[in-house]
Symmetry: C2
Subunit: 108 residues, 2 copies
DNA sequence: TCATCATATCATTAAAGGATGATATGTTAG
DNA sequence: CTAACATATCATCCTTTAATGATATGATGA
């Protein structure tokens, strides 16, 4: 099954990691450096279980990495390339800010 | 309402344009240059109404632009910056291809 | 004006997706 | 060993999302 998945769908799947507000807020909280789960929970204002759930997926997708230090687990952005994508996202948003604000779809 | 939407949600909203397979295939079909709707329909293999619906949203969000030539409407990627984001997406995907393939979420 | 071409819009439906809250699991100090 | 800390997992539910197919709208040539 998965062997036959087209690159396009893989790519869309990748962008999904950025397209959900909770996930994006997690990634944003990690831009300045690694954080433990508890800190991500505080930074994002989401429930611990929700954050854990999303982190699990982001990690499995390869967008973040983790390391354990005793009871604590630290997460960080997986690569410079992911950071670069986030930076580009900022630039695009700057361009289309007014348009996207007025679009009625995806009213978060 | 919309005035109060946080930048994070705006950004997630922007990434949404890339995270849906149909939308992404539309954007991908435009990377080499502008196309009329009919051609996008062929390139993506989606129904005309579905393509139109997504194009409408992509346009309103500012990710694509359009011009009319008689009966035909041509769409193109809105800016170099959007192209750049697509390029970065390719690079990230290259890095995480094996991981994301194995992730069970978003089985397109 | 009307038929044809090209595209946009709309109502409906089925499926996907995300959050919650309880609970399970892993680590560690006393 | 046990309690406390930190995090992961799970079942459920509600909301959102995308596709379909019919139809509306716009442009044009005869």
């Amino acid at each position: 099954m998965l062997e036959q998945i087209a690159p396009l769908e893989l790519k869309a799947k990748m962008y999904r990691g950025f397209a959900d507000p909770t996930r994006l807020s997690i990634l944003e909280s990690l831009r300045d450096g690694e954080r433990m789960v508890g800190a991500i929970v505080e930074a994002t204002g989401q429930s611990q279980s929700n954050v854990s759930n999303h982190l699990s997926c982001l990690k499995e997708c390869g967008l973040v990495t983790s390391r354990r230090d005793g009871k604590k687990i630290f997460y960080s952005i997986a690569s410079h390339q992911v950071q670069s994508l986030l930076n580009d996202g900022d630039l695009v948003l700057r361009e289309i800010r007014d348009c996207i604000r007025s679009c009625a779809k995806y009213d978060y």
